[in-house]
Amino acid sequence: MSDIIFDVRNVTLRFGGVISLNDVSLHQDRGEILAVIGPNGAGKTSLFNSLTGVYQPQEGTINFTGRNGKSISIIGRKAYRVANFGVARTFQASRMFSALSTFENVKIGAESHRGIGVVGAMLHGPGTRRDEKRSDERTEELLKFVGLSAKANTIAASLSYGDRRRLEIARGLATDPQVLLLDEPAAGTNPSEKVELANLIRRVRDNMGVSILLIEHDMKLVMSLAERLYVLNFGGVIAEGTPEEVRANPVVIEAYLGSTTEEAESI
């Protein structure tokens, strides 16, 4: 039995007259680095938003299966519930808590799934203090993991693009996810940062056992990282396969030629 983490079937998402996702079916195996590519406006971010409960598709099913084998349906659930099931994400235009420090950003992720405990928080009891210590340790660990230890006390808004991406990854990882959704993590980063980012993503999967779902326009990065990929165009899946298969697929080349030659050339 193959171990599927995300199972998306016949999902259609509309905004008024605009169809963002059109009968999309795809799946991701546990532990896989899966990529979704496609020209601008293809519906990639919409797919992510549907997978995380931010958008509610009108048709189709999305099933998420946890490590414990329990399967839940994503559609109809609130985004925070989905996050609590073990789905973490980053955003295309990075969204941090910009007035807080790097450390606090990640810590918010680390403690968010620990229940609320207002009374504990008000009284600052021993249990709360223990929790707090654990979150601090976890935060430090993750900052080290993504290479932001030196900037722990920097205000998030003043981080560079590359650092913001890493901060978002650390914050997502802090929630102890089973799958991490990355929406164009390499956008706005320089070539050397891209290499580091690719290594980081691989380490997330290898060391933490977190599956990766990746949206990326940088084909070099996608081709070197992804084990399998889906190509979206006009809201529909037009191709699927290993990087080699997709690269050779005439439909894909056509789709990209239709949009920007630059990207087509990079395939």
């Binding site: 995380t52 931010v54 609130k78 985004a79 925070y80 519930r81 996050a83 609590n84 973490a88 994400r89 955003f91 969204r95 941090m96 808590f97 910009s98 007035a99 807080l100 420090s101 450390f103 606090e104 810590k107 918010i108 992720g109 403690e111 968010s112 799934h113 620990r114 609320i116 405990g117 207002v118 928080a121 008000m122 009284l123 600052h124 709360t128 929790d131 707090e132 979150s135 722990a152 006390n153 920097t154 205000i155 808004a157 003043s158 914050r171 997502g172 802090a174 929630t175």
Partner: protein, 449 residues
């Protein structure tokens, strides 16, 4: 003409004169509907003392003030930034000193000692009463509203409802309402405190759960409506609240706990200590909360709700929590007021009141506990001083004009308040820096962990 107006110095002069003219109106004599121009005329034409030197018409005096103000503005415009930089340089060492832990605790301790000794330093009965009714009560309300507006970023314009419910709970529990108390057994108001706090928190949850998913400005209007409705009910449900007659004969609180026996009476000072105890309690609880997971979650929601949800924070739950927790201190304040004064009237719990409390929070600094306490003490002390005796023809109803103007002025010139909360200040500056990158340096000064 327009070219001339475009010149900054002249523009500033005209703006200064306009502002001063408004102040002239605000401080001038009142008019009436039979003499609608009397106030305007009097504000400019009435005679006033020119700093004790000679008597002249008000407009001369204010024109002089406008010119002085303009001069100050001009000097500040050219030298302000430099002065600020120098000042910051000079302040680096003292700031470092005051931000160390022992110093902070020392300052807090000293303030507490002053607060405890205050009734012995101030002997005037007027001020002793004011310290309870006008200052302590308002501090309690301000720190509670600060949880909602400052921490969670929710504009609640119906906060007075919780104060009202607290006060009526005191009346109900002690058997002063037509509605019979629990088990038909009247308790003394001391027991009303926990009951009132529990009740307002439950009300907060019930009101908050459906409405707090609304966007900020909708929420403001809905809470405003709720505040009105609660007052309307209190005013009209004669069978439960005695309606507009209000509730009289609410007894003073007392404690009989084993060897501990104490009866609060007519004198204000014992109430002052009761209030002070609760103020300290709420301050500790709220500031622990601010720096806890809950406080961070509130900040996260305030800054970016979508991102907060993406890490598993349930925004509605935290907002409702802020609503309920913020209500607690208003509930206590209600009991305090009711049991000290022995009577309550629905007409004293109006929208005006909610806005008064909002002004205290805004002046002090949204999200800054120290700021909010300072804001409340400052405004309430000045108000009481103005109300106590004759001051330049000031009338109590003028207060609201000043408070409204203060809200606008604060939003234009110092949106983060007198003692800004670091997080809030950064948020505001960041939002503005999106616009104009020049602010960035200021924003990124200083770490706070």
């Amino acid at each position: 003409m327009t070219e001339l107006l475009a010149k900054p110095p002249l523009r500033r002069l005209l703006i200064t004169i306009a502002v001063v003219a408004v102040i002239e109106l605000m401080t001038g004599p009142p008019g009436s509907n039979t003499a609608p121009t009397a106030g305007f005329k009097g504000s400019f034409a009435e005679h006033a003392s020119f700093f004790g030197l000679f008597r002249t018409q008000r407009w001369v005096l204010f024109l002089f003030l406008a010119l002085v103000g303009w001069g100050i503005v001009m000097v500040w415009m050219t030298n302000g930034p430099r002065v600020r930089v120098t000042l910051n340089k000079w302040l680096v060492v003292p700031r470092k000193f005051t931000s160390t832990r022992p110093v902070r605790w020392g300052v807090l301790g000293a303030l507490l000692v002053v607060a405890v000794l205050l009734p012995h330093i101030i002997n005037s009965p007027f001020w002793q009463a004011a310290m309870v009714e006008q200052i302590a009560v308002y501090v309690l309300l301000a720190i509670g509203l600060n949880v909602v507006v400052g921490f969670a970023g929710l504009l609640d314009l119906g906060y007075v409802a919780f104060y009202l419910i607290g006060a009526y709970t005191a009346a109900w529990v002690t058997g002063a309402l037509p509605l019979p108390p629990l088990f038909n057994h009247a308790l003394n108001p001391f027991w009303a405190i926990p009951i009132a706090i529990a009740l307002v928190m439950i009300t907060g949850i019930l009101l908050g759960a459906p409405t707090l998913r609304l966007r900020g400005d909708y929420l403001a209007i809905v809470t405003l409506g709720f505040g009105e409705i609660v007052t309307i009910f209190a005013n009209n449900l004669y069978g439960i609240t005695d309606g507009s007659l209000g509730s009289k004969l609410i007894p003073h609180p007392s404690i009989h706990l084993g060897p501990l026996k104490y009866v609060w009476g007519l004198k204000p000072v014992p109430y002052y200590y009761l209030a002070l105890g609760f103020v300290v309690l709420f301050l500790i609880v709220f500031s622990l909360l601010e720096h806890s997971r809950v406080g961070r979650a509130w900040t996260a929601i305030r800054e970016d709700e979508v991102a907060a949800e993406s890490v598993g924070i349930n925004p509605l739950k935290y907002k409702v929590m802020a609503f309920a927790i913020g209500a607690a201190s208003a509930g206590f304040a209600g009991v305090l007021t009711a049991s000290q004064s022995n009577f309550i009237f629905p007409s004293s719990f109006t929208l005006t009141f909610s806005i008064n409390i909002l002004v205290l929070v805004i002046l002090g600094g949204m999200g800054s506990i120290a700021g909010v306490v300072l804001g409340a003490i400052l405004i309430q002390t000045v108000t009481e001083w103005l109300n106590n005796g004759q001051h330049w023809g000031y009338q109590p109803s003028d207060l609201y004009i000043y408070l409204g103007a203060l809200l606008i002025v604060m939003m234009i010139f110092r949106p983060a308040g007198l003692i800004p909360s670091k997080r809030r200040k950064r948020e505001i500056l960041l939002s503005e820096a999106d616009h104009e990158n020049s602010h960035m340096d200021e924003v990124l000064l200083g770490d706070d962990t």
